[in-house]
Symmetry: C2
Subunit: 684 residues, 2 copies
């Protein structure tokens, strides 16, 4: 399958426009790398001066470049870029990497030039990578369109896609020392045209790519990104490092949901929906990537620790728990076999501590026993330099065992000089090593989460729903009722007569709320009264409330009061939605009331939600966990809360004009749940 | 100042008992290291066979070893250890490092042997380090009593004290590659005698030690440790990696405080009290240690970022916030100077992005401007390999600038091969480098917390308090009142007559609670009724409550009901104390009521508390933050809550027989605070 961006990844011929014979120029570096990479297609150079470079002619005119050529690398003055794009189109080249900088990143003038490039490219059907990028790199094809200092990174199964070119360069250099390689590297630059969402599926197609690491500063189209990534993560793991967490200031929000839902909550929810593992640091991203590249996935979360020293074993046990994993309970037969094999003072219970005297054979034998154990889903081996043996001998003995099982084994290989040979030995056998137990445990955690993702069903935004229409969105009750969300009719009473008439219609007990477009948080101003049981109480409450608020807020428009039948006791939660500008409807669930923003006991997820997603969201909050009862708090109908959450997510998918909607509180009853108060904000 | 453990750190003469001429034996390794270390005192060897080793005689009898000798290193069979200790005492040697294992760590028999060693040592006034340890190491003295493979670690200012010998060995090897050194290393082993609390002040005395890193699996005497460490941290920073976080199972607790206060909460509180920085991982511990060893402390939290690439700058900005730091607002004059100096497309606002073209001079000039800025307390410099310059040239240019200021500068030196020379250049200038911005920011955070510790006053457990005695601890009201904590008298009514009489005495409105030794959580069983406003309501409530509970819990002993005057509305919090077995009174503050254990909105600190400590504890919880008011929740008397917390901490210090005490709720009023319900558990 080819697409318009295929030439960036497997071109038939490449032309460097702006090739240079001066070794300090980028145009020399790109030419050198193309040749040194061993790229098997055609390589051509275009320059202002004719001559030769690396035994190839320097053409002064792109038209003279012979076939095949379908990818151009532009290292030309910023101002000449539009003309060069036209030249490419004329020559039939439909893909161009623009290395030059000086575009959008430097201000308005550059942005205009960039826009001009995109316009020309669209017009002529040319795809652009960059500008302000360092190009692409494929260690297997091979192909290197960058100007980075050789050598190329080692071959490997990690594809790295990055918004930052500087970050690419630093990571490539760092990876060399760390001893891991890449399948592909793509520097996206300003993403004037081709963006991370275009590249992700293309990179995933590469058979050499086992895992994709993504460095993101933003997202071009959130909804498309989640769709594309969801497809990719069905087959290959994706890890993202998203930076700019603390950048965005708080925006003015019309609801609690809006106030709490920042762009970070939306990114978290988007990654969760797409099945992308989100790393906290660059180091962590590649720690995980190396495990995902090389290890089989665990069938569960029960891990064993094998060590020759107590201290690091304890660190490992702590770290397993931190990463959501469990210490396996070894079976009786494993315990018996370990007891028979190990010296009496060893500890056969997980963490299995063989003591400092452990030989290569001991490591191999015990590891074999642990991997055989049906209660063990994976093993973290701790290997500081053994006092009596060479570390690499231990490595060799273990590698043979590891290869026999389809279970992940990660090694905390502690030290440096004394374990260097062992590190290389493990590396050759594709077994990931980490300098400390904490990092090894974190990698095991990523494997377990990846395994879980593959068995969890995610609701997809493409799923067909029965779109429900209502006459007017203004009638909230009708809308919610249409989606099967129970509300309690609320009526506006504008004077004492209406108060009495409506009370007769609804029945007692009643709740009264001030009706004013100017008062957002009603209970803040004494605008809510509960448990009004008879006409007399009701009328005096009406008089008091309206008079008090009129005198307290003389500028506020008071339309009267809203009356509502009081519902039975239950547990109150908040369910809300804001339409995230990047990712669409973002659902919130949590502790409601007036303390929402203080308690911050809330969880977010992207709509639409299915049962599993809604349940997992609810369980992340204390408000959700206590629905099943806690101490004297009786259990209520958790399923109803889940149901409302799902239905509200469908409503949000169906009605794009609903910008924010918030049920606060949703009262969850012994049976059923009722939206007591609902606030909606429609698109302006 | 010398103490009984001084010979471990600066012996006049050392004897290796169990020296060996076989290079594969530990007794050879220790002898070799002692000599190779360059130790300037006397070195003697004792062995079973006479002869010579490293040109020194092998004595077969310890008595024959000439003066000076005040430290023995024992590498003898486990069973011979007690006899060898006696031999040492006879020869006048009062300090012995026991390298051998096979003691407490292998079971009951070993434990008995270890106890015998300690008994003999106490009897003869001999101090023991170990057993099951790898000894000590001092790079400056120099002295190496270990058997680890040479070379010794590099000289440095970090002292490392460790419960795990294997961890020592791995760290020493790792540090070599990382390029940092140590002042001293102490392996504590089983701590049969000398423990971490003994060693900490001794190590701190060493003028070469700038910072102490502590690997802990437990603590020998928590109270003494906190006292000793508090003294040390007044002068030198201490970082601890405490492992075994998830080890302890939950114990049965008599209160919410007891249920929530695990040993980890106590360790956290103890480290906070002692001014110890707690690291999460080994890598982090040494990342922090290198900064604390080499950097001046910042005067505040406002940090600047200097970078030549946008992406890593964003990562750094995120990480500063994660570590509790702020991005400085640069002064107008700095902004102007940066604007004049940098190209127009550079970003002069913090993070300052000089663009990829930044020269060594640009780095130096901009760093100088940032360090001059009064709004900048420290700088994080990002240095990936610059495309056009050698990284080490940038390093050299910056070092000159850094040395002129008393502000911390840390470098995120990204890459490996291309930055290796720069790394060494920085290292020689004692400027810490980190491979990623996240780790550099974490180090800056540690510096800022260290600086804050030095300006924060901590209440010390040695402070004299006016110990208040009460006739009987059983009278809780009396005890609390004596400490100035306001309670509301509570009276037991055993029948209807007493209910009426007590109500007349206390006045309305009243609260009624079931009185039963068998019912711990009264409201769970409907054993609490509020707002009883008159005699009729009261009596019917009495009948209903007692009858309902009798029928619901026929086995429970019902003594009647407790009556109490109902206090005005306010905000309710929980204040509790449990006596931690290691660290003594551990105070808790947080959201009270019945959801304490679910919400987990609580903070812990060790008693006694001063104003600053109590305030900081309160501010860590939402319950504490909202005392100053939130939305429609009116502000209450925060100072009163702080006051009660401090007073309860004094009560706990004074009365060792109070094992747990919990005020739940403490109702904080507009003015003052009242203990509404108090539960106490006295020592059995």
């Amino acid at each position: 399958m080819t697409s318009s961006i295929t030439p960036f990844f497997s071109p038939k011929g490449v032309v460097v426009i702006g090739a240079s014979t001066s070794p300090e120029k980028l145009g020399y570096g790109v030419a050198r790398n193309l040749i040194q990479s061993g790229y098997r297609g055609a390589i051509h150079f275009v320059s202002q001066k004719s001559g030769a470079l690396f035994d190839r002619p320097l053409y002064t005119n792109l038209d003279d470049v012979p076939d095949p050529v379908d990818l151009a690398i532009l290292i030309v003055p910023t101002q000449s870029t539009p003309q060069t794009i036209e030249d490419c189109a004329k020559r039939g080249i439909k893909a161009a990497i623009i290395v030059s900088s000086g575009f959008r990143e430097v201000g308005a003038e550059g942005a205009a030039l960039e826009a001009q490039c995109v316009e020309l490219a669209r017009k002529h059907g040319v795809r652009l990578l960059g500008p302000n990028c360092i190009g692409t790199l494929d260690t297997h094809l091979p192909l290197d369109t960058t100007f980075l200092q050789p050598p190329m990174p080692a071959q490997g199964g990690i594809a790295f896609v990055s918004h930052s070119g500087a970050f690419c360069a630093a990571i490539i250099d760092w990876a060399r020392e760390q001893g891991f390689g890449f399948s592909q590297i793509v520097s996206l630059g300003n993403q004037a045209d081709v963006n991370e969402t275009d590249v992700l599926p293309e990179v995933a197609k590469d058979e050499h790519t086992k895992v994709i690491a993504l460095y993101m500063e933003s997202v071009s189209d959130g909804v498309k990104f989640v769709q594309a990534a969801s497809e990719v993560t069905k087959h290959k793991p994706v890890i993202a490092l998203k930076v700019g967490r603390f950048e965005a200031g708080q925006k003015a929000a019309a609801s609690h949901t809006g106030a709490l839902a920042g762009s970070e909550a939306a990114f978290d929810a988007a990654f969760a929906k797409a099945g992308i593992l989100r790393a906290d640091t660059a180091e962590q991203m590649f720690d995980w990537a190396r495990a995902l590249e090389n290890c089989p996935l665990p069938r569960g979360k029960r891990m064993a620790i094998l060590t020759n020293a107590g201290g690091p074993g304890v660190i490992a046990a702590d770290s397993l728990e931190t990463n959501g994993l469990l210490l396996s309970q070894l079976t009786e037969s494993t315990l018996k076999a370990l007891t028979n094999y190990l010296p009496p003072s060893a500890s056969v219970h997980n963490p299995v501590d063989m003591l400092a005297s452990a030989s290569p054979d001991a490591y191999a034998t015990c590891l074999n026993l642990l991997l055989q154990d049906e209660n063990v889903d994976g093993v973290l081996v701790i290997l500081p330099p053994p006092p009596m043996y060479k570390t690499e001998e231990v490595a060799k003995a273990m590698i043979e065992v590891i290869s026999k099982f389809e279970k992940p084994v990660v090694i905390a290989l502690m030290g440096s000089t004394l374990v260097e040979e062992a590190r290389k030995t493990f590396q050759r056998a594709n077994i990931p090593t980490y300098p400390f137990p904490e990092r090894a445990a974190s990698a095991l955690g990523a494997l377990a989460r990846r395994a879980k993702h593959l068995t969890t069903e995610h609701a997809e935004s493409t799923e067909t729903q029965k779109r429900i229409s209502v006459a007017s969105l203004a009638d909230l009750d009708e809308l919610l009722t249409a989606y099967g969300i129970q509300t309690i009719p609320i009526k506006l009473a504008r004077d004492e007569n209406e108060v009495t008439a409506i009370a007769d219609e609804l029945g007692y007990p009643l709740v009264m709320k001030i009706a004013s477009p100017d008062i957002l948080h009603k209970s803040d101003v004494g605008g809510v009264l509960l448990n009004l049981t008879d006409a007399q109480t009701l009328l005096s409450a009406y008089t008091q409330m309206t008079e008090r608020i009129k005198s307290a807020m003389p500028a506020a428009q008071i339309d009267g009061v809203h009356l509502q039948r009081q519902v039975p006791e239950g547990q109150e939660v908040i369910i809300g939605m804001v339409r995230d500008p990047l990712f669409g409807p973002l659902m919130m669930f949590g502790s409601g009331g007036i303390e929402v923003e203080g308690l911050k006991d809330v969880a977010f997820a992207l709509a639409p939600l299915n049962q599993a997603e809604a349940r997992s969201m609810i369980r992340k909050t204390w408000a959700g966990r206590k629905l099943k009862g806690f101490r004297s708090i009786p259990a209520v109908d958790e399923e109803s809360a889940i149901d409302v959450l799902i239905k509200l997510s469908h409503l949000a998918m169906d009605h794009e004009t609903v910008d924010e909607i918030e049920i606060n509180p949703l009262r969850v009853l012994a049976k059923g749940a009722v939206a007591v108060d609902v606030r909606v904000k429609l698109r302006a």
